[in-house]
């Protein structure tokens, strides 16, 4: 009898501590995610009462008859290649210089980091302003054709605008991660190599680079998942335009649901999308696990 009441007490305690958090998460994420599974086998416009069970038709449609979705996949993959390479190369270079602890570097770090802490609204309006009135003004002064190009009106150029914006916004984040990795490299190793006559490029390639491999893998995978999930910039800034030239997978799903009102199809797409992203996230979790134990 005593042990039973003790067990009830420990359950109540557990419920008191854990359930409130669980309820919030269930409401905002778990339940909507599971409902995706249910909706994905229906033909439904998201508003009306008529839901027709269509089985796997939505999924079949995605793989056989949905050119815009695959255009989105292509754009997302292309973006991923550009973004991952540029942001990592640039932030690693910056981090190499900024990892020294001086007053100037702490100011420099802050400069690179600031775009990461301002909102997407500000970022998108800032770039809209620069590419619009800003470039117009610069063109009339310099006469350089580059300022006269229609950066947001041509799909090809809009792609580069999206890449530049994403790199500008996020560089600071990767820089900070790289700096943390570089600082952890024992100074004695570098000094020993220098005394043995290694040049700074040699020191970087033979000592720093192998020692910061964990940081590199984390940044590579984080940037890759970011690229796969690219949505915010598209929704706020380009809205997929011009001529569907910047539609990503995630934005295609959003549009399918709220613009085309094909709600069932959109949920099916979002599940296909989850599988894409899960594969990358699973690798990411595995790689970062060793690090998280130390922290």
């Amino acid at each position: 009898m005593k042990s039973k009441s003790k067990r009830t007490k420990s359950f109540l305690l557990f419920a008191l501590f854990v359930f409130p958090a669980v309820i919030f998460v269930l409401f905002a994420t778990d339940i909507p995610f599971i409902m995706n599974l249910y909706y994905s086998v229906f033909d439904w416009n998201g508003v009306g009462k008529s839901m027709t069970f269509v089985g796997l038709d939505n999924y079949i449609k995605i793989f056989t008859n949905d050119s815009l979705f695959w255009k989105g996949v292509k754009f997302t993959l292309k973006f991923a290649v550009f973004y991952v390479l540029i942001v990592n190369a640039l932030s690693l270079t910056v981090a190499l210089v900024m990892s020294r602890e001086t007053k100037t570097t702490s100011v420099g770090r802050a400069f690179y980091y600031v775009p990461y802490i301002i909102s997407l609204t500000a970022i998108s309006l800032i770039w809209k302003f620069i590419l619009g009135p800003g470039f117009e003004a610069l063109y009339s002064v310099t006469g350089w054709e580059i300022f006269n190009w229609s950066w947001l009106g041509t799909p090809k150029l809009a792609f580069y605008v999206v890449v530049i914006m994403a790199v500008w916004q996020n560089l600071g984040f990767y820089m900070v991660n790289y700096i943390a990795g570089i600082i952890a490299v024992p100074k004695e190793l570098m000094e020993a190599a220098r005394i043995d006559g290694a040049g700074s490029i040699q020191v970087f390639l033979k000592i720093t680079l192998p020692m910061i491999m964990p940081a590199i893998s984390i940044c590579m995978l984080t940037s890759l998942t970011f690229a796969f999930k690219l949505f915010d910039i598209i929704m706020v800034f380009t809205k997929g335009g011009p001529a569907n030239g910047t539609v990503t997978v995630a934005y295609n799903i959003y549009k399918e649901a709220f613009v085309n009102n094909k709600y069932g199809l959109a949920t099916a797409k979002s599940l296909v999308f989850v599988v894409f992203v899960l594969i990358v996230t699973a690798i990411q979790m595995k790689v970062t696990k060793s690090r998280e134990v130390e922290a």
Binding site: A21, F24, L26, T29, I126, I130, I218, T225, Y254, F258
Partner: protein, 279 residues
């Protein structure tokens, strides 16, 4: 020995480029700032020049015309509610989950962590629909509930990792001395979690203040419930934007983030690295 000066020169050459580049990196923000004081004609005439006068007229006009007090009030309310709820509930859950090992504990942990694996974009449309079905669209409370739920997983995950390294002996001592479980938690465990809790608070403050996507989805264009980011976005993202008001608006919306960044720089940078696993 001869080689050493050459190495130093190489490093300095790169350093100078990187430092100059950092100013270039900040350029877009500087341009927004100086142009926010100019009338539109001056912007077009001389984009890079400093304004002729630093009068705050347009700032004051934007402040009243677009009802900034209400927008800032809403955003502060959202940020405060989210941060307080997460800072209260996440460590409780994380602590209990780290200290128990039964099946229910494992199930709850998976339920809380799952959203970190699947992208928000995959369930946001169903979430929006669900919130609409229970009649909370365009509603302050609806947005706050969603915001708390979205911030919770990473917070619990980070604190959970931290609790595992807090020695259990302290709690056992307190229990032997006759403290209840709840008392032990609040007076022994919670103070020990302060470092990770600071990180969580800082991350969630920035995330909620800067949120546009969730506010857009849940609140839409409902005038009374928009946060500042959403309102500026709705107001100024049209084809021909009203830059004379938009620029002061952007600057004012950024000032709190920037002040917060300067004050909490250490925690922000440390916290972001700690949260990197989420991606």
């Amino acid at each position: 020995m001869k080689k050493k000066p050459k190495n130093l020169r190489q490093i300095n050459g790169l350093s100078i480029v990187i430092f100059l580049f950092s100013i270039f990196w900040l350029m877009p923000l500087l341009l927004i700032f100086i142009n926010s004081f100019k009338p539109y004609n001056d912007i077009i005439q001389d984009f890079m020049a400093l304004p002729k006068s630093w009068k705050l007229d347009m700032y004051i006009e934007t402040w009243t015309k677009f009802n900034f007090p209400m927008l800032i009030g809403n955003t502060l309310l959202y940020t405060a509610c989210t941060v307080v709820a997460v800072a209260l509930l996440a460590p409780m859950a994380a602590y209990r989950l780290a200290r128990t090992d039964h099946k229910l504990s494992k199930v709850c942990f998976v339920l809380i962590i799952m959203p970190m694996m699947v992208p928000f974009q995959s369930y946001m449309i169903t979430l929006t629909k669900m919130v609409a079905n229970i009649g909370l669209t365009g509603n302050r409370l609806g947005y706050i509930l969603v915001s708390i739920g979205l911030c919770m997983p990473l917070a619990v995950y980070m604190i959970h990792g931290f609790v595992k390294n807090v020695p259990i002996e302290l709690e056992e001592c307190a229990r032997i001395d006759g403290a209840t479980e709840i008392r032990t938690y609040f007076s022994i465990v919670l103070p020990l979690l302060k470092p990770i809790l600071t990180t969580v608070v800082v991350l969630d403050t920035l995330a909620t203040w800067n949120d546009i996507i969730t506010n857009q989805l849940i609140v839409g264009g409902k005038a009374g419930a928009m946060n500042i980011q959403n309102a500026l976005y709705m107001q100024f993202s049209a084809q021909t934007a009203d830059w004379e008001h938009a620029l002061p608006g952007i600057v004012m919306s950024m000032i709190p983030s920037l002040i917060f960044f300067v004050a909490m720089q250490k925690h922000i940078v440390g916290g972001v690295t700690a949260g990197a696993v989420k991606g």
